[in-house]
Subunit: 119 residues, 2 copies
DNA sequence: CCGGATCCCAGACGATACTG
DNA sequence: CAGTATCGTCTGGGATCCGG
């Protein structure tokens, strides 16, 4: 019963999955793993994310206590985002998925192809 | 650079996150972890999932090669879903998130409260 | 350079009713 | 009991323009 079903019925668990279930959350977290970053810089590291969505994502992460936003006034404006210690604790689980993807990604792709062909 | 950025730029990695980023995917996978299950039964185990969404989710998992669907004809109809071996390899990563939620879920909740109060 | 405001689309999810 | 169809809602995400 420990890691059994209460496991998923548990609200906190759902909460954790919500964190990952936003497409860009894990991507942005990972992009910050090596240290603070500025929005423009992050956009460059991550490919294919619009500026608006990046901001949204960072704000969301901030509201969850995973990221801090520091603004230095002035012109041009300068902003830096950084993982909190809480945010850093999420790196290993994210990494676990990355490793899984590395090991089994092809199988999923093949399964999809097979499924499509049979349909 | 290994687990660095190519990590997330990689399409296969995105693919893995897509698997989890559907709200119900991990929940259903976890509900199947102890063996095959019938839809009605699964709905009972999982709380708050509609029948339609459960079917959708199972089909999606099937199309990704994570679950098999076996139909025994007759009346009343009998169907069983079961994790594939590929699907089972996803259990540890999912469990990693569950563990994280168990350990840090409260902190996220508190962070959210703090954020809301400040806003 | 940052990021807010707006318009727009796709799809995830729910409720219900209906077929086999 | 399993599954489909339909209708409706809501939100994530993309594109773009504008202001600080």
């Amino acid at each position: 019963m420990d890691t059994d079903l209460a496991f998923l019925a548990d609200c906190r668990t759902r909460l954790a999955f919500d964190l990952v279930s936003h497409t860009w959350n894990p991507v942005v977290i990972w992009a910050l793993k090596d240290g603070p970053g500025r929005p423009g810089e992050l956009r460059a590291r991550i490919g294919g994310i619009s500026q608006k969505v990046l901001t949204q994502t960072l704000r969301r992460l901030e509201s969850n206590g995973l990221v801090t936003r520091r603004a230095y006034g002035g012109s041009p404006p300068r902003v830096e985002y950084e993982l909190t210690s809480l945010g850093r604790t999420l790196l290993p689980p994210i990494q676990a998925f990355g490793a899984w993807a590395h090991d089994h990604g092809d199988e999923v792709t093949r399964a999809q192809d097979r499924y499509t062909r049979e349909a």
